[in-house]
Symmetry: none
Subunit: 423 residues, 2 copies
């Protein structure tokens, strides 16, 4: 079954808001096994909207529209669909009553408030359609079945659209599908996208069911393995050998095979598992590593403190980095990084320390120490590991990659020190 | 002039990533005076991509494509454009050399690393096009002029696409317009979007040239004032009275009227202007405030150190928060926040301290101290100001808003203490 999305709203075309609805609905379509080949955004213009609906109907089984159901002049989605299908708009008595109740409740302190003509627009429905209740606003949704096709109209605000989709549209779409789709994520850190793909190009080329789709994120590569089957058990049975093969090929580079887990949550989990505590010391990343760890709810069990030591003085004062080290090797050096990691752990009384020092740019680079040079050190139970990185990108990117590589370094160190393979 | 956007990538159609590129480019088109009537997303499928390009060329003067320029099998944007225009792909020697340099630099410690066949794909260009340099990745962009139309190909990752657009595509598109569009940004912190809009609804309703467009960001409201004119001076003359009026109405709530300035850069500038130094102390934000300050290149002049004190022990050890204070009022309290700010400044020998302590959720809330309760304290030359906030949203949002409000609190405190209005 093929679906197509049409997002309606001039505010999208002006770039006033990010179209998160398209992302949400795309994901839902994929989960429900509807193939999505086109997503369209058009403004509040009847001719262009009608054309988009016609085109979508010519190539998809299900057309989902979001936006343009509000009470104002430029909300025209319902009219456009009615026009394309050559149907009338008729009053839905139930919707009319709900609008009355809504305004009565909202303006209970102001009995003189009258409902404007525009608001009654929201009581109109396309004849023969199913009206879908909206518990979070005044605009109902609509399901229109027409010949063998379905057109679904949803309100634009995500706070109304998402609960409506979950409650009413998802079960409806599920019923129209006979297959279920199930997927598993394999998340990798420490290998580039092209290398990762090259390593499993034979699997990618041979794929049919399940499919293997790579996604490159900054510093990471994710593979989604998706199977379609009659039921979840059958899908899982199809997926398992592919995931097993990836685990065999990528080994320790895989940090999780769970959709929900992130690099920081995996690191925090590992620390907890081994009864370890961590302290951080950051120079060029200025707190981003600590900030990312604190993403994990409940991190306080393993992480109590961190240091942002941007200046040399702070590195000496809090982390006990030697003046001699700074003078001889500089703040951006393997030696300083190592002393920072060890110093942070000591100061905090933690088992592990993680330190980042580097030149994030755009200024501060020299030919000997160019922008992008970053040293990352991990200290764990008496040992220190330091890696040197040459990172490409702007200040922001250098700092984000540094944070990712730091977490990955400690993850690997814990796994190897504990001689405890994750998989 | 009409523009059309085509976003290419199956990951978009699967809902794996939000299409922020479309939002960014839509806004840029609006700013440059290009009318945008359609935005399309298609997957990595040649036939559908070619069809989308053909359709876009039939209705727009400028077609902008993002994505599908990478080295992997499913990166097909260049091939599709060449096919539609009936042109060849030829090797661009300059791109070839850059790829060699990139990999030589990246794998300098591993001389055995060879460049895979896939990577050379990125050295191919559509014959007769202009190659646009990419300082943040290996995929160049391309500008193809064909008959009276223009096709622009940009890489998908925003960290590569945005700098390329700003440096090369924006000036190119500007030159193709006969009118110039010039705009000025008024950035506000401390007032909600609807309040801000209501305060200038008369100006918004009366707008024609210049136009006034509001953009709500987390914790901030930006108004873009755009004039079209024959030249920049004329546009600036049209814009000035509107900006002046906004400055009059919003006063100290405006932190800048410059496009380039951010809240953190304005705060760092203010600290520099007044010869002040700052230290940070963070609990629930875990380093994000320090990380955001360090966004500003050259921040080291005013910011040398910060503390991530997630545990009570760390708050006492480094910031000298009294055990009695923690016991009597709790870690999330006005008193603790105040002591943290003062303690951070004292420990670092700084004039100013900024502290955040709160409950970011999803766990840890109680009826007395619910999720979203955050105390922010600023210390400046002996005085302490503490604000209590009740923030809405998930963990991430509560933490981001906290960072913004903290910076804004210190900004206001400096301005009022120095009795030195910014405008």
């Amino acid at each position: 079954m093929i679906a197509e999305l049409i997002s309606v709203g001039t505010e999208l075309l002006l770039g006033n808001i990010v179209n998160t609805n398209a992302c949400y609905l795309s994901r839902k379509c994929a989960e429900l096994g509807y193939a999505l080949y086109h997503e369209i955004t058009v403004g509040d213009n009847e001719a262009r909207l009608c054309e988009a609906i016609n085109t979508a109907l010519s190539r998809a089984d299900v057309v989902i529209l979001t936006g343009g159901l509000g009470p104002t002049e430029d909300d025209i989605t319902k009219q456009a669909v009615a026009k394309v299908l050559n149907k009338n708009l008729v009053t839905d008595e139930d919707s009319r009553r709900k609008i009355e109740e809504y305004f009565k409740f909202r303006y209970q302190d102001n009995p003189k408030h009258t409902i404007s003509e525009n608001n009654w627009k929201q009581a109109l429905k396309i004849e023969g359609c199913t009206v879908v209740g909206n518990n979070n606003g005044t605009a109902p949704g609509y399901i229109v079945e027409h010949n063998s096709k379905v057109i679904i109209l949803l309100p634009g605000p995500p706070s109304e659209m998402i609960p409506m989709f979950e409650a009413s549209i998802k079960p409806y779409l599920q019923k129209r599908q006979n297959k279920i789709f199930f997927s598993n994520m394999v998340k990798i850190c420490g290998i580039g996208e092209s290398k990762a793909e090259a390593d499993i190009i034979d699997l990618i080329k041979a794929q049919s069911n399940p499919t293997i789709a790579p996604y490159a994120k900054d510093g990471e590569v994710h593979f989604r393995i998706t199977a379609s089957a009659d039921n979840e058990e059958e899908a899982k049975r199809l997926i398992k050998p592919v995931v097993d093969e990836l685990v065999k090929r990528f080994g320790i580079n895989i940090y999780t095979t769970s959709e929900e887990e992130t690099l920081e949550s995996v690191l925090v989990k590992l620390l907890k598992q081994h009864g370890l505590t961590l302290a951080t010391a950051e120079s060029c990343t200025g707190g981003l590593l600590a900030g990312r760890l604190v993403n994990v709810s409940g991190v306080s069990e393993v992480f109590g403190e961190g240091f942002v030591t941007y200046s040399n003085e702070a590195k000496m004062k809090y982390l006990n980095v030697k003046e001699e080290t700074l003078r001889q090797f500089g703040a951006v050096s393997s030696q300083t990084a190592g002393e920072m990691a060890q110093g942070a752990a000591r100061a905090a009384g933690a088992n592990a320390g993680l330190a980042i020092t580097g030149i994030a740019g755009p200024d501060g680079g020299t030919s000997a120490k160019p922008v992008g040079l970053v040293y990352i050190a991990a200290y764990l139970n008496g040992s220190v590991a330091v890696n040197e990185y040459h990172l490409k990108g702007n200040r922001q990117k250098v700092r984000e990659l540094s944070v990712i590589y730091a977490m990955d370094l400690l993850r690997r160190m814990i796994l190897s020190q504990m001689n405890n393979q994750q998989f």
